[in-house]
């Protein structure tokens, strides 16, 4: 997923191209972005964007978003919109931290998934069986689950104050293991310190990936890949996706649409629960009210950003994770990022000019110039702006690419059994 984060400056423009995005093009874009970032780093003397700490933080921030997004992907591919991811994530944070404290963090992860899955079951019951509007149900779940969690912890955490619990905070659970490749990590760290052009940047990125990497990040990456194979390479996946594209046709072919929808929405809840458990077991060691901070919604946005595909989802959550982690780190990094994006937009303008799409070229050029001026005239970027960046980017991408993004055809539609007969 580190590739996802470095491809960032190019992604906003990518969907506007006519050609299909293939692997060589993706790799080329990543290489180009890397050169650009290195060049800017060398020119400004600020190497923060590719520092291993930054990459590590970005990866960590991307995981809950990616898992929430993966939940959204499963559910929407089966035709159920899941606005309730946020609530299911809260269930995950709560159950994860609680069982993580009582038993051990590994069981905590599973419990978080189970908690989220219960939320998914409720969503499935309301939307699939009772045929209620999906968004309405999601809003209700977002209201209900945090309420239940806040209520239960208010009662039970009181007995665990001696173990470090607070009024709205669970007692801390043990940590999950992290992976550091001993020789490699130090060696890369050493190279990174020299600030050689390109080499140090690559070292920083790779170093960020091999140092203090939580096992949950690996699990998350594996789940995304596994989801791709399961959904796009197996009969099961084909059937599940057919429920999101045309449930009537699926039913007439003998697919038990209700069963698949139930399965998908429960799985969706489990992924959201894992996202929550990550927050309360890896990002922190305890549960707190309001810990999710709207990440369920961001996950949904990352999924839409990624065109309802696992690869795009990974890129989207990488983007969100990267900007999310920027606000916690050195403010200068963001300032340098302005220059990177300005240059990237300038290159995009040249590309569009070459393809004789002059309107787009001029727009890109104006944006590039504006960002460049902004960089030249200011010393830092204000914090609220950093926080808002991913949302603004998502809106811009949606506005530019909405004709190219294609949600599952029957997404959000209420389906009743027997329509296929």
């Amino acid at each position: 997923m580190s590739t996802a984060t470095t491809a960032r400056p190019k992604t906003p423009g990518a969907p506007t191209k006519k050609s299909k995005i293939t692997w060589p093009i993706v790799l080329l874009l990543i290489a180009g972005a890397l050169v650009l970032v290195s060049a800017v780093g060398a020119a400004t003397g600020n190497h923060g964007l590719t520092a291993s700490g930054q990459i590590n933080a970005a990866l960590g921030a991307a995981v809950p978003i990616a898992m929430a997004g993966l939940g959204g992907l499963w559910s929407e591919r089966a035709g159920v919109v899941n606005i309730g991811l946020e609530g299911m994530m809260v269930a995950g944070t709560f159950c994860g931290a609680w069982v993580g404290f009582l038993v051990n963090p590994w069981v905590g992860l599973l419990a978080g998934m189970a908690g989220g899955a219960l939320g998914g079951l409720l969503h499935a019951l309301v939307t699939v069986t009772f045929g209620v509007d999906h968004i309405v149900s999601g809003v209700g779940i977002n209201l209900l689950i945090p309420g239940i969690c806040a209520y239960v912890n208010r009662i039970y955490y009181r007995d665990y104050v001696a173990n470090g619990a607070g009024a709205n905070q669970s007692p801390p659970a043990d940590s999950l293991p992290t992976i550091t490749i001993p020789g490699l990590s130090d060696w890369l760290n050493d190279i990174e310190g020299h600030h050689w052009f390109l080499v140090s940047d690559v070292a920083g990125i790779v170093g960020g990936v091999v140092t203090d990497l939580s096992v949950v990040i690996l699990i998350a990456a594996a789940l995304i890949v596994a989801s791709y194979f399961l959904l796009w390479r197996t009969v099961f996946g084909l059937r599940l996706r057919s429920c999101g594209e045309n449930p009537t046709a699926a039913e007439s072919l003998g697919v038990n649409v209700y069963k698949y929808k139930y399965f998908a929405v429960i799985a969706s809840g489990a992924f959201a629960g894992l996202a929550g458990a990550y927050l309360s077991l890896v990002a922190a060691h305890f549960y707190k009210d309001g810990q999710t901070q709207g990440r369920g919604f961001i996950g949904l946005a990352a999924m839409i950003f990624g065109n309802w595909m696992p690869g795009g989802l990974a890129v989207g959550s990488g983007l969100f994770g990267f900007t999310d982690s920027l606000q916690l780190r050195d403010a200068d990094n963001v300032h340098v990022l302005l220059l990177v994006i300005a240059l990237a937009m300038g290159l995009l303008a040249m590309w569009h000019g070459y393809r004789r799409k002059y309107t787009t070229a001029v727009i890109s050029l104006v944006v590039a110039g504006g960002l460049g001026l902004w960089y030249a005239l200011t010393d830092s970027v204000e914090r609220p702006l950093i926080v808002a960046t991913p949302y603004v980017i998502t809106l811009v991408v949606l506005a530019l690419a909405s004709q190219r993004l294609r949600p599952p055809k029957a997404d959000g539609q209420i389906y009743r059994k027997g329509e296929g007969k």
Partner: protein, 384 residues
């Protein structure tokens, strides 16, 4: 199908209407009861006495100070409910009420702190400011939907987050907040001028906000627009079926833009009673999540102005009386959140079940009538 006996037909019609009303009432009542059962179970399982807890809530809710607080809170919820419902009526899910009201009230607070005109100009000025800001912010989502086909659900969620950032940016001292604040820790705007204060009514139970009359006016205008104007007819038609509306000459694009803007404009007003009647400045103390409460209130009230009034009162009652729970007998106040959540989920499920039941009843009735007719025809044939 013509009925052989006109008298029988009328009685049938009147009976069915009564049943219809009963069915319409059944859903919310069922939902509230179900939520009470679930919350009682939760309370009982956690070792608390549910009846005592409800008793505490009802006792406070029926006391005059509790009633005034409930009405004040319900005023806010009612406006929030109307804002969400206006979009819902056209199948527009304006999840962005949250961001729209925060920006609206921030700008109103700023203008109120900078301008000092006579009350009869000042207050309308602030209301218009809030509505304009809320409406414009919502229009972004409307424009994106109409011209770029972006789902308003996702764009308003994004806009909510961006609104939070915009509020943060504007509240940096020296912008909308005074450069030198009286309270160094709190980031807030200067208080609004004296002339911006909205009138209120002193009662035995405390201060009743005069804004309740504005809320009532909003409800009346809402109902009037929906049932008595061309726009309202188009809106409801588009909400029922977009293709049918398009076919009958409704400009759906313009409808989407207008209703999104109107929904946002109403949303802009949500924070106004708090601002002009109680806090007088915009700061950290502003109540969050009103947008989502508004959505729940609208759903519970079935998007009708009267229904929203009842559900706003219910939600306000739960909130206000819930604050008494920790004071009288160590009940966690959070049970109120559970209640509100279960009510919302139960009510949507209950509406669906009642709808299905009504449909089945209707089918049975038509079936029975057809069977009776067929039987009568057969009898005639036999007699002949």
């Amino acid at each position: 199908m013509t009925s052989p006996n006109p008298a029988a037909k009328r009685s049938f019609a009147s009976r069915f209407d009564g049943e219809k009303i009963l069915l319409a009432l059944a859903a919310p009542v069922l939902a509230v009861l179900l939520s009470l059962v679930i919350c009682s179970a939760l309370l009982a399982v956690s070792g608390k006495d549910p009846f005592d807890a409800f008793d505490v809530m009802i006792r406070y809710g029926t006391a005059s100070d509790g009633q005034v607080l409930t009405l004040n809170r319900a005023t806010v919820y009612y406006v929030a409910g109307c804002a969400a419902a206006f979009g819902f009526r056209m199948n527009l899910f304006n999840i962005g009420v949250e961001g729209q009201y925060r920006l609206g009230v921030l700008f109103a607070a700023y203008v109120g702190s900078q301008v000092d005109l006579p009350s009869f100009i000042q207050i309308p000025l602030l209301l218009v400011t809030a509505m304009l800001v809320g409406g414009l912010w919502a229009s972004v989502a409307g424009l994106l939907k109409v011209y770029r086909g972006v789902s308003e659900v996702i764009s308003t969620i994004m806009l909510n987050a961006i609104a939070t950032a915009v509020v943060g940016l504007l509240l940096i001292p020296g912008r909308f907040a005074p450069a030198k604040s009286a309270n160094a820790n709190a980031i807030q705007t200067a208080p609004v001028s004296e002339s911006s204060h909205f009138f209120s009514i002193e009662t035995a139970g405390g201060t009743l906000w005069g804004f309740i009359f504005v809320a009532i006016l909003i409800g009346v205008l809402f109902q009037f627009t929906l049932t008595r104007t061309r726009f309202g007819f188009d809106l409801r038609a588009t909400g029922r079926s977009e293709t049918a509306a398009k076919a009958s000459g409704v400009n759906v694009k313009r409808m989407v833009l207008t209703s999104m803007a109107v929904s946002g404009a109403i949303a802009g007003l949500i924070g106004i009673p708090e601002l002009l009647q109680s806090s007088f400045y915009f700061g950290q103390s502003i109540q969050l999540n009103l947008g989502f409460i508004g959505i729940s209130v609208a759903l519970l009230g079935r998007n009708s102005p009267i229904g929203i009034a009842f559900s706003a009162l219910l939600f306000a009652f739960l909130d206000v009386s819930g604050t008494q729970l920790p004071l009288h007998g160590d009940y966690p106040q959070e049970i109120v959140l559970v209640m509100q959540g279960t009510i919302v989920i139960c009510v949507v499920v209950a509406y669906e079940l009642v709808r299905r039941y009504g449909l089945k009843r209707q089918q049975q009735k038509v079936g029975a009538e057809l069977a009776a007719q067929a039987a009568a025809a057969a009898n005639k044939e036999v007699a002949a």
